[in-house]
């Protein structure tokens, strides 16, 4: 029988070569090791992170001697005592946490309709437009986007220029908490949409059609069918946006005008401004603890969503 090129494409031949090479490298029966070998990069990555955390943990237990600017050679809990006794620490933790929760809620609220339209639209042009609009911000760094808002929202920015046309005096739109949250929502929206879109794609359109044909209007179908089925995606997107917002540095630094620091900004100050890496390390571990506990709480109340990787479906 004649074999056509298309019946055995070149990509398959390439895979054959790879498989043969793999069989040469691995001993007989090595196939059982393949999954573990595939895990190696991830283990190395997590291992590096764990070693880094150990170093940070060690630093957090050493205090700075300001006569030599060297760290103590003994361990002490002084940095943690200081962190928990200063009201400033509570202020920035509360500000970061509250900001992360607000940003997550608003981002999900905006990301859901965006993702829904992108997934469900029958217009290829609209889908492409939404996809381009979604990915474009990824090519522009966070700092550049923040500076863009400085230009748009500044006293002599586009918004104030527009307001001036209708006789409104320039408004201070920047360097406050809402400005930081606004910048964060704009930054997080693509992440939210990207996490939600697969979950919405997995909801068969037929089910929505069935709900409608059984008499549900679109609001009831949304609340009783789509949203419950999109829950794993909402949780996954929520956790990603929450943790990224909680640990953000650039938006509070640039749009906050120096008065709306998050924990990451305080850590930066300790590491780089006051040379007190010990105290900075203690703040770092406190931030990790706050973030982990918050995510743990979300998982406990709502489940792990898409981050459970299908475990919930068993």
């Amino acid at each position: 029988m004649r074999r056509y090129k298309t019946s055995y494409p070149i990509s398959w031949r390439f895979m054959d070569v790879l498989e043969a090479a793999f069989a040469l490298v691995l001993p007989r029966g090595g196939g059982r090791l393949t999954p573990y070998l595939l895990l190696t990069p991830a283990v190395l990555l997590v291992g590096t992170l764990a070693v880094g955390l150990l170093y940070i943990g060690d630093s957090s237990l050493r205090v700075l001697d300001r006569s030599t600017f060297l760290f103590s050679d003994y361990w002490t809990l002084e940095n943690y005592q200081r962190a928990f006794s200063e009201s400033f620490t509570a202020t920035i933790i509360w500000r970061s946490l509250a900001g992360a929760v607000i940003v997550t809620a608003v981002t999900l609220l905006l990301a859901f309709p965006y993702a829904y339209v992108m997934v469900r639209t029958s217009s290829a042009l609209l889908r492409k437009f939404l996809l381009v609009a979604l990915f474009l911000p990824f090519f522009i760094g966070q700092v550049v986007r923040a500076y863009g808002w400085l230009i748009i929202l500044g006293n002599q920015g586009i918004v104030n220029d527009a307001l001036a046309l209708v006789g409104v005096e320039p408004l201070r739109l920047l360097f406050n908490y809402p400005a930081v949250l606004f910048g964060l929502v704009q930054y997080m929206l693509p992440f939210g949409v990207l996490m939600l879109a697969p979950a919405l794609t997995a909801i068969p359109e037929d089910i929505e059609a069935a709900a409608t044909s059984l008499g549900a209007n679109w609001v009831r179908a949304l609340f009783h069918v789509v949203l419950p089925m999109a829950r794993p995606g909402l949780i996954g997107a929520g956790v990603v946006v929450l943790t990224l917002s909680l640990t953000d540095f650039a938006m509070p630094a640039i749009l906050g005008g120096g008065s709306q620091d998050f924990v990451a900004n305080a850590i930066y100050d300790q590491f780089f401004r006051t040379s007190d890496q010990g105290f900075g390390a203690s703040l770092t571990l406190i931030l990790i603890a706050v973030g982990s506990m918050t995510v743990g709480l979300v998982f406990a109340v709502f489940g792990a969503g898409t981050l459970a990787l299908g475990a919930n479906r068993k």
Binding site: F69, Q156, S259, F272, R273
Partner: protein, 367 residues
Amino acid sequence: MNFERKLNRRSILKASAAVGATGLASVSMPAVLRAAEPDKPSELIIRAWGGPWVEALKNGVSDPFTEKTGIRIIHDLTEDNEIQPKVWAAVAQNRTPPIHINWDTTTNATKSALRGVCEDLSDLSNLSGTTDLAKPVGVDGYPIVNTYGYVYVLAYRPEAFPDGPPKSYHDLLDPKFKGRIAFYNDGIGFHFPAQVAGGGTLEDIPGNMDACWEFVEKIKAQNPLLGEDPDFVTWFQRGEIDAACTISTNALGAKRSGVDIAWTVPEEGAKFDTDGLWIPKGHSESDLYWAREYINSALTQANQQVWLDGLGLPGVVPGLTPPEGLAGDPSYPTKPEDFERLIRISGQIQVENESEWFSKFKQIMQG
């Protein structure tokens, strides 16, 4: 004839030998001298502040140095605070530091000196021609060489002060300046005038700074903007602020870019401080030699004149001519009486307490 010829030949040979020896000596002497200089590195990396700061250094010191030695100068614009832990880590791990010379605030540099990461610069030949300002206080020898002084002035937009320049920091408490004033985000430059403005004395620093913090609380109610050097220029340019406590160079930079801006030393006084140059330990002998030469060249009158004309700051070499418009300016103190309204607190007190002041300032402003 033969004899004569012999003599002639001998004379000629002698003369040739003498000329040859002289020629050889004249060629080989500089070669010997050159041999005393270690090999030149292809480049030296100098950490610097950006904007008008690095331009001034390039024009005043780096370009003349390259012209003279052929060594290329690379300006690393990493923030001084960010380079510090990298340098400290490199020295601690016996690695080559990422920069050859750090252009640093004297307070920051003193921390590095106390940590023992700075090379000693005491035997730089041009130090003999400098004023007392070049000598760092509170450390042995010259681990840092101060290169100029600067004043944290009260910069303002004259348009916002139609009755004349602000006389005191209390003037900024006027409700019309709410959200229209700016300070450094750690309060640097403002702590000491605030101590006076709050009714305290400079002698109470660092033991009792309650007056300072009370006044900072009042300023906080004015919702000030808090930033870094480049922010002040930007904010003035964009009309975001009417007044700021900032280094005079930033105000001068804004003025040179066309912003209508002036500055003053208020009745509470203004902080006077210095910046300097230092070399981290861990470089090869040859790199160290040429890095020291670079700092030495920064102390010549010609180079100081160009460098500090760009910054609008008073140097550490006598006989410099103030830049146009800055003679007698409060931001350009040269005579003892010019320093009467300026506040100088010992470097040691600043190094030991600065982080506490920064934290307290942030605590109030962020609260």
